[in-house]
């Protein structure tokens, strides 16, 4: 068998396969098309070693990289997602839901976790893009509400990490109402004067950006993430011309004053710890500060790396720059 046939797979198949199955030892970077070995990719936090492209990250890997020792507690979300409109397009929504649940092992597109980062308690609500494109329905709204309430209860900062195409059409108007609902939720955190930090990851669009995702006290973006309200295709059809280079990407938003900083993934944990410490008037544990730059490899799998002779994978600092 030709070795090529092993890994040149249609994208769709990569989406539906569980991530852990190692039949895909090599991943192709969607940006530079270079091949990256899967272990390498885990080590680099799914950042392409060749071009620095930040690939989408499964929610559990995301939480693992952020929390101290890669440990966190999740809260049970009620109620279970339902199909309020009994929506059916080419397929039933209830079926789509079940499929997504089976594929991801999640009930819906958001995981609400709490734990410590740099010794400071935080609540994190992180999106799983593979769950119906991270779209927001009532259950996602509920997750944001629960996360906000937990943050208030624990007097902890709230960090939300969206990765979402927007509202979940299959829940119709109810998904639209989640825009107002999540806005109330994150405002509760702000009213308590607790930091509300948003980490915009690829992609954050539609109804999600037009509500809680753009209301952070601090807006952090991952390099090269698509962030915007309207889809590029819709805009192109409206204005009938080509879109500017880097349009709706993190760096573009930064240039236009819409985000505070663009932070490469391997610096994200340290930056968040620093931010939370500053806003909460707390000094993070000294070792955490010292650890920040070099400890990132250790935090990846939650245990110290044994092979110290191994060269560090090169991750360019401002990795993704289209201009």
């Amino acid at each position: 068998m030709n070795w090529l046939t092993n890994f040149v797979k249609p994208k769709i198949q990569r989406l539906v396969r569980p991530k852990e199955v190692p039949d895909n030892l090599w991943h192709q970077c969607p940006k530079c098309s270079e091949m990256v070995f899967h272990r390498e990719l885990e080590k680099t936090l799914r950042v392409c070693v060749h071009c620095g492209h930040h690939m989408r990250m499964p929610v559990k890997a995301r939480l693992k990289m952020l929390f101290d020792e890669g440990k966190w507690a999740e809260i049970e979300l009620q109620p279970e997602p339902t199909d309020p409109l009994r929506f059916k397009d080419r397929k039933r929504y209830s079926e789509r839901l079940k499929e997504a649940q089976t594929e991801t092992g999640l009930k819906d597109a958001v995981v609400v976790a709490h734990g410590t980062m740099g010794g400071l308690g935080v609540v994190v609500a992180a999106f799983e893009f593979d769950f119906m494109g991270g779209s927001m329905g009532a259950a996602v709204g509920e997750a944001i509400v629960a996360a906000a309430e937990l943050a208030c209860l624990q007097e902890a900062p709230l960090i939300v990490i969206p990765s979402s195409g927007g509202a979940r059409m299959q829940e119709g108007i109810i998904s639209l109402m989640q825009m107002a609902r999540t806005t109330v939720a994150v405002d509760k955190v702000r009213e308590k004067r607790l930091p509300y930090i948003v980490v915009l990851t690829d992609p954050t669009t539609g109804g999600v950006t037009a509500s809680f995702a753009m209301l952070g006290d601090i807006a952090v973006a991952e390099p090269g993430a698509l962030i915007g309200f309207a889809g590029a295709r819709v805009i192109e059809q409206t204005i009938r011309e080509k879109l500017p280079e880097g349009f709706q990407r993190s760096e573009y938003l930064m240039d236009h004053g819409m985000v505070d900083m663009v932070v490469p993934r391997h610096e994200l944990r340290a930056k968040l710890i620093q931010l939370v410490g500053l806003l909460m008037h707390k000094n993070p544990a000294a070792d955490v500060v010292a650890l920040a730059p070099s400890a990132r490899r250790r935090k990846v799998d939650g245990k110290p790396e044994t092979d110290t002779s191994r060269p560090e994978p090169a991750i360019p600092d401002m990795a993704f720059d289209e201009r």
Partner: protein
């Protein structure tokens, strides 16, 4: 009068009536009886057609070019109206019209999305598709209402927020989010009325009210039926099916507990009898407003927030 496809039989009848009237004018013949007979038939057909409009037909009625728009409601319902302009940051967006005026003698802030009526005004109002400046202006006016204890009346009629390069660059999503936040924050009554099309985020930005009303044949949806069809069915021609599935009619939304009331339209839709429509809207707003002004300001805010916090909890429906 512009006729929709499903109104063709009615259009033909009305054409006949016009013809007969013309005849009676010229020939002096007495055909009043025939005209009256046809008139009754038109009434009956209109009533029965409009009593069972499909979601897609309602979409067409909601977008009817002759349907009264925000500026018409302002003219009819608001006295002493003083338009206010600008977001104080970048520009004036005429897709959002707003200002202060009196509603039945009471000082209010009015904010609405305006589509425009002819080529000139449509261009001026950008077909009712607001840019960030529009939403920032809306936020500014809501804050003004809050500061001077003026109830806020909003009128929603938009296909959605404008999808453009400049709009994105200037933070369309942030502007919408802040407008929603402003709706939730004010300590005065906020009554939103969907008068035509309630298109997605661009609509909810002005529709987070203590009371949300919809006209009988208006629609309110997370995405247009066409957009939904092209994404989920991968076929824009499936808009009819999408309109059914999305549950976007006032009747569906009332059933789902999303809106607080439906304002009945005259037979044949608001465009057939604008004056009667204005009266119905005026009465509906007035009855809610007189109740809301009795409520303590902080309660008004708390109740509004709580109402939207509950939406989707326990999985509705």
């Amino acid at each position: 009068m512009h006729f929709l496809d499903f109104e063709k039989p009615i259009a033909e009848l009305e054409g006949k009536i016009a013809e007969l009237r013309h005849l009676s004018d010229t020939d002096g013949m007495n055909i009043a009886e025939e005209v009256a007979r046809l008139q009754t038939k038109v009434e009956r057909d209109l009533t029965s057609t409009y009593a069972r409009l499909s979601p897609w037909q309602k979409t067409l009625v909601a977008r009817h070019p002759d349907r009264p728009h925000t500026v018409d409601y302002i003219k009819a319902l608001i006295t002493d109206f003083m338009p206010l302009a600008g977001d104080r940051g970048f520009g004036e967006d005429a897709a959002v019209v707003g200002g202060v005026g009196r509603f039945k003698g009471r000082s209010v802030v009015v904010i609405g999305l305006e589509k425009g009526r002819d080529t000139e005004t449509r261009l001026k109002h950008n077909f009712g598709m607001a840019r960030p400046e529009g939403y920032r202006k809306a936020k500014r006016l809501m804050e003004l209402g809050d500061r001077f204890s003026l109830p806020i009346l909003t009128f929603v009629d938009t296909a959605g927020a404008y999808p453009g390069v400049g709009a994105e660059e200037r933070g369309q999503s942030e502007a919408i989010a802040r407008s929603i936040e402003a709706c939730l924050d004010v300590r005065v009554p906020l009554i939103a009325t969907v008068i035509g099309e309630g298109g997605s985020g661009g609509a909810i930005a002005l529709a987070v009210g203590n009371v949300v009303l919809m006209l009988e044949h208006s629609i309110y949806s997370v995405i247009s039926p066409e957009g939904c069809a092209s994404i989920l069915w991968r076929d824009g021609n499936q808009a009819k099916s999408a309109a059914e599935a999305l549950k976007l009619t006032a009747q569906d939304l009332e059933r789902l507990g999303i809106i607080d009331g439906i304002v009945p339209e005259p037979v044949g839709g608001a465009h057939r009898a604008p004056e009667a429509t204005f009266t119905a809207v005026r009465d509906a707003i007035d009855s809610h407003l007189t109740q809301l002004v009795k409520i303590d300001p902080s309660q008004l805010r708390a109740r509004r927030r709580d109402k939207f916090l509950q939406m989707g909890r326990g999985g509705l429906g």
